[in-house]
């Protein structure tokens, strides 16, 4: 089965539909935040997987810098694009959640802000990749920039959380009820499978492009 990732993607989609249905209809209402809290079942999985995506691009970057084999460069390219899509979606979800809950479109939630800054970094790296023609230089320079951007996440998280804690006290509520944990975990894996489909397909596209670019 050559393009196995299509089946993985479909499985993920199915799980996502079921998990979301469960989260929307079956899971109990959160005591304080009411139904708005149900956004969590798609928001938190997207957050985890976006961070996973950027970590995968860091792995790709280190892989390329050490071995210079093209498969790592494909990984960088596909995870950056996927991370940008899921990262941007995450910001939109965060805003939609924040409006009814705290009355503002954007709360300086440290996790969300760290991912948003990461998305901006990777937007820059995507621009860098499009401004460099030589494939080898493009791979090496974007790998270097990826390492710098990824290493920066803890600093961003630390500073934002500390700045936020000095001035306001919003933070997302901790979920306890097991009926809530089930759809959350299910959707987390669902989004993971969908992201694996995105990254694998992006990987194959990058490989074809590079084959043509490096054609004899």
């Amino acid at each position: 089965m050559r393009r196995w990732e299509i089946w993985v993607g479909l499985l993920g989609l199915g799980m996502l539909v079921f998990g979301s249905y469960y989260g929307l209809m079956v899971a109990p209402r959160e005591v304080y935040m009411g139904d708005v809290q149900r956004i969590m079942y798609v928001h938190v999985p997207t957050a985890w997987n976006t961070l996973l995506c950027f970590t995968a691009s860091f792995v790709g970057a280190v892989g390329w810098l050490l071995t210079r084999s093209w498969k790592w460069d494909y990984l960088i390219e596909s995870t950056i694009i996927t991370g940008l899509v899921t990262g941007s979606l995450l910001a939109v979800q965060g805003a939609i959640w924040a409006k009814p809950t705290w009355g503002v479109w954007w709360t300086w939630d440290p996790r969300l802000t760290s991912v948003a800054v990461m998305v901006l970094s990777f937007l820059g790296i995507l621009a860098l990749r499009s401004f460099v023609d030589d494939p080898v230089k493009r791979a090496t320079w974007s790998a270097t920039a990826t390492v710098l951007a990824w290493v920066n996440i803890p600093f961003v998280y630390l500073c934002v959380r500390w700045m936020a804690s000095l001035h306001q006290t919003q933070s997302t509520p901790k979920t306890v009820d097991p009926a809530m944990v089930f759809p959350l975990r299910l959707n987390a894996f669902a989004v993971l499978f969908v992201v694996i489909f995105f990254v694998a397909t992006g990987w194959r596209i990058a490989r074809e492009q590079r084959k043509r670019e490096l054609a004899e």
Binding site: D134, P135, E216
Partner: protein, 214 residues
């Protein structure tokens, strides 16, 4: 005694185009080799790969039996981009290079030798192309490398400057340095060469020195 230069299947690709491909040859120590061929054939790429300024995409280069990148202290490359700082004077450019590379030569003597003594304190910004090339030669003299790679040394020089190049080639040969000269002034350089390489659309092949010579 390993050869000064040993290239095995050296290739260099720029975004899909092979500027240089499958170059295999050796150059004995103390030899002067002429490199000739049409424009855009890959001569500059060849010299820059040998000088470890460009990393080969395929194959490998070893100088004196060692990987090229480890021998940079013994290599002198004269390329189109002269590497000078415009807002420093000629003398300062040489002093910077000398201090950073811990070069042995004397700055004033080098400037004198290339005929830049009077203009030494002027900013390189005010230099003509020929004067910039002379300054590049001065830096080469400061470094006194064992392996010298000259990419079109005569270009942009006046007759007196070209005479200077002839003298330097003779001097290098007398000193036992290994030299590779890429030039279109074949007749002028041929008498001093021990061998020649012809480069055509990325392919390097050994050839006899046009005119006299082995």
């Amino acid at each position: 005694m390993p050869p000064a230069i040993a290239a095995t299947e050296v290739g260099r690709r720029f975004a899909g185009r092979w500027a240089l491909r499958g170059a295999s040859f050796e150059v004995g120590e103390g030899h002067t080799v002429l490199v000739y061929g049409p424009n855009g054939a890959g001569k500059t790429t060849l010299l820059r790969v040998l000088a470890s300024a460009l990393e080969p995409t395929s194959g490998s280069v070893s100088l004196y039996g060692q990987p090229a990148i480890s021998q940079r202290a013994r290599i002198g490359l004269l390329s189109h981009a002269d590497g000078h700082y415009d807002d420093l004077s000629g003398a300062d450019n040489l002093r910077v290079a000398s201090r950073l590379g811990r070069l042995a030569g004397d700055v004033e003597a080098a400037l004198e030798r290339v005929g830049l003594a009077q203009r030494a304190q002027d900013l390189v910004r005010t230099y003509s192309a020929g004067m910039r090339k002379r300054l590049a030669f001065a830096r080469l003299l400061l470094k006194a490398p064992d392996l010298v790679l000259l990419d079109e040394p005569y270009a942009a020089l006046d007759t007196e400057g070209q005479g200077l190049v002839d003298e330097l080639l003779a001097e290098l040969r007398a000193r036992g340095a290994t030299v590779m000269v890429s030039t279109h002034q074949v007749a002028r350089v041929a008498p001093r060469c021990d061998g020649a390489l012809v480069v055509e659309n990325g392919r390097v092949s050994r050839s006899t020195v046009p005119g006299d010579g082995p």
